[in-house]
């Protein structure tokens, strides 16, 4: 995934990216909702409106054959995506952009496990990688170009490759 999202030209970049989505697949919702929250990893998509912590930005939902992708483009250029199974659970998330989003909101109940793994690492200043049977998290990058993704293997819908989510 190219790190084309930037601070200075973020909105322009996002528009061009969204445009390409439009040409490839139907978007059933594309609205700017300042302050709209998103559900976190392992959570229920129905809890979106109830979330107290906000990732401000424009929301786009794209229906895929085996899941739906909810995407929030923060004004600061960071893009957060959540992948929702047909049963309505967020089975994967990803982020990419100049700043790290509020990962406690994005990772939900898994945030503490993420922090614990980072603290336990013998090698410092390194990407954070968790590859457990119950959780996979990868966070990499540097200031102005961060990226990461996470999924819960037990929640991944049948037939979906969590390593190949777009």
């Amino acid at each position: 995934m190219a790190r084309i999202l930037t601070t200075g030209a973020s909105m322009q970049s996002l528009k061009s990216r969204r445009g390409s989505f439009t040409s490839r697949a139907p978007i059933i919702a594309l609205v700017a909702i300042p302050g709209l929250a998103m559900a976190s990893l392992g959570g229920d998509v129905a809890s979106v409106q109830a979330d107290g912590v906000h990732l401000r930005g424009a929301l786009a939902v794209r229906e895929m054959p085996q899941y739906s992708r909810h995407e929030i483009a923060q004004a600061n250029g960071t893009l957060v995506r959540q992948y929702v199974s047909p049963s309505g659970q967020v089975f994967a998330v990803s982020w990419q952009g100049p700043v790290v989003p509020e990962l406690k909101q994005v990772l939900g109940a898994y945030f503490d496990q993420y922090v614990g793994a980072a603290k336990a690492a013998r090698i410092r200043r390194a990407p954070i990688v968790i590859q457990d049977a119950s959780l996979v998290v990868v966070a990499a990058g540097h200031p102005r170009a961060f990226s990461g993704r996470a999924y819960v293997p037990s929640l991944v819908p049948p037939g979906v490759d969590p390593e190949a989510l777009q």
């Binding site: 700043v99 954070i128 990868v138 200031p143």
Partner: protein, 408 residues
């Protein structure tokens, strides 16, 4: 750590600077000149890769002298400042600062509220106020540099929007160093965006500790790449490290050189220039038939990170790194924005074996590990051993063209 000897060292630095003043060196103010040849300024500083304050692996350190702006008697020499080409700005851990630096002036917003930063690194965040300091390193000086003081007890209440981004790195044990000197291609840690928008999550205005709100901060008040503020030799830096033995070393001694093409010791020579993305600092690496679009040359990363379990993962002391049964010699191509490229060969050894040996060994040239995504190729400190790696700052002129670029 710094302590008593720091005073003596600062006095020596001051004496050296007085001598250089006679020759026209030791510039004061925020010089904006670039490029031109400058005689007599000592533009080098020793770099050491050693265990540091908390037994870290592959951290390059320098000693810097920090003074209260305009006050040459209120100074401190601080050792084990990590050299990081992946970020910008000087950051000091509050706990290592002597009383002499307690009066560093705060950077405040228009209403007089102190500016406090939530700096983000890949493995955590650091919280603390922005203050101004005079900096001396080698013979180079920069005045009134906005720096971050991390873990300042006067601002111990961390906003949830900061704490929620990841693990805290607010003391020496968590941070791994007494501070960090960020010498990336960028002139500030945020830049124009944070001057106009408060939602990047980096800067807050804090009337009191615990009542912080997101704030915009003028570019000139943002934590700044200090090497770009020197009066001379301010267009870039070179990190020159010797080869390190594959089995590891307890200490590797190298040199941090300021300026590119400004003195006899910092010419580009035969180095290949690779332009980096002016918004991310990234370039591309091609390895094993795959293009890694998020690649970067980062002295602040402890190993080379690439691939998704392309080599066997470690299971022992070096979990998170690669552990091939025998050392693998690999070749990759690093591509710049303008299409130029450079082929590099690097080795990946069994990190479990290396890190379970003599605990005094902390400098390893053959450490690599998975980044576990399809875009990241992080050329960390192992890449720097045996090379002169140039980092040229954005918008700065050099004899070979303007930054931002890297070269080696």
């Amino acid at each position: 750590m710094s302590g008593m000897t720091g005073v003596a060292r600062a006095a020596l630095a001051g004496a050296a600077c007085t001598a250089l003043l006679v020759l026209g060196g030791c510039g004061g103010g925020n010089g904006a000149g670039g490029g031109g040849t400058s005689a007599a300024v000592e533009n080098t500083q020793a770099v050491v890769v050693d265990a540091g304050p908390v037994n870290v692996i592959n951290f390059p350190f320098v000693t810097v002298t920090v003074c209260v702006p305009g006050n040459v008697t209120a100074c401190q020499s601080i050792d084990h400042i990590q050299v990081d080409t992946g970020s910008s700005g000087l950051r000091l851990l509050s706990s290592v600062l002597s009383p002499a630096l307690s009066s560093l002036p705060k950077v405040s917003d228009a209403a007089g509220n102190p500016i406090v930063e939530c700096m983000q690194f890949v493995d955590g965040f650091s919280w603390g106020p922005v203050k101004r300091a005079d900096l001396s390193i080698g013979g180079e000086k920069a005045s009134s540099v906005p720096v971050q003081v991390i873990g300042d007890p006067a601002y111990s209440a961390i906003p949830s929007t900061c704490a929620n981004t990841g693990p805290p790195e607010n003391n020496v044990a968590q941070f791994g160093a007494n501070g960090l000197i960020g010498l990336s291609v960028f002139l500030q840690d945020c830049g124009a965006y944070c001057a106009g928008h408060s939602d990047a999550g980096l800067y807050y205005a804090c009337p009191t500790s615990g009542t912080c709100i997101p704030a915009t901060v003028a570019v000139g008040d943002q934590v700044a790449n200090p090497a770009a503020m020197f009066a001379t030799d301010n267009n870039g830096v070179i990190i020159a490290l010797p080869f390190a033995p594959a089995s590891g070393a307890a200490t590797v001694a190298g040199t941090l050189i300021f300026g590119v093409g400004t003195q006899a010791n910092n010419g580009l020579g035969g180095a290949t220039m690779l332009g980096v993305d002016p918004t991310t600092g990234n370039l591309q690496t091609v390895w094993n038939g795959h293009v890694y679009s998020g690649s970067y040359v980062d002295s602040g990363s402890s190993a080379i990170y690439f691939g998704i379990n392309d080599l066997p993962p470690c299971t022992g002391a070096a979990v998170g790194l690669y552990c091939p049964t025998s050392t693998q010699t690999l070749t990759a191509s690093i591509r710049g924005m303008a299409g130029s490229s450079s082929t590099v060969t690097f080795a990946v050894a069994n990190a479990d074996q290396l890190l379970s040996g003599d605990p005094r060994l902390v400098a390893f040239p053959d450490l690599a590990g998975p980044a576990s995504d399809a875009a990241t190729f992080d050329w960390g400190l192992p890449f720097f051993y045996g090379r002169r790696v140039y980092t040229v700052f954005e918008g700065m002129a050099t004899p070979a063209g303007p930054g931002p670029y890297v070269a080696f």
